[in-house]
């Protein structure tokens, strides 16, 4: 991993069009600003990881098609019958 030391208000460039600016430094946090082209998605890593994990779970699960269908149908129609 490339390690760079930066102070407040200094920045780094990733390629030619992505800039990461150090906006604020506290003992426990840094605030970063990102200037990037609009088609470049920026995510907090833990959020991206959570989505990856969720998708992997969704893809690997054994899908009991009829069972799930019946359950959802009951869920969505059950209430109306009670009324």
């Amino acid at each position: 991993m490339l390690v760079l030391t930066r102070k407040k208000d200094e920045s780094i460039m990733l390629g030619e069009d992505i800039e990461v600016v150090v906006l604020e430094i506290t003992p426990t946090q840094v605030r970063l600003g990102v200037n990037a082209p609009r088609d470049c998605a920026v995510y907090r890593k833990e959020i991206f990881t959570a989505i990856q994990e969720e998708n992997i779970k969704a893809a690997r699960q054994t899908v009991q098609v009829e069972l799930i269908k019946a359950e959802v149908k009951e869920l969505f129609t059950g209430d109306d019958e009670e009324k």
Binding site: I47, I51, Q52, N55, Q61
Partner: protein
Amino acid sequence: MILQSKYFGRIEFAEEKIVTFERGIIAFEEMKRFFIIDNEDENNPLWWLQSVDDPEILFVVINPFTFKPDYDFELSPQDAEELQIEKPEDVVVLAIVVVPENIKQMTANLLAPVIINIRQRKGKQIVLQDKRYSTKHLIIEELAKTQKARQTQQKTSAQSAAQNR
């Protein structure tokens, strides 16, 4: 095109029916082609996204507005452009569902919905920057909340109707 799928057996469909995800699905970037299997039961909000590239992969998906009517987000102009969206009615929003052993605990991912332009047959899983949504919304719980809110609303409107008389 004929696909020998794991869960639906032999599926035959026209090639034009394939929905292309140019960036794949997050964590499955190589999976670019899907076939939507809709529910023959119109009252059932569940659909299925069958991977054309891997017959073993089937995503359970649901129309999120059926259990969370206040679900809202703005599609970025970049995503709208990428998906060649011209009219709102061309857009289908789906949430990927994870079904644990206890089916009642099934959750939907509202943080990363799947957006499909049904006319151009292009799809993309987008990531919302919105703290209200997570990758695991208990469907049963959201539905209960929605029904409760609806009942309160009905009561209030009944009351105000009574008062107006």
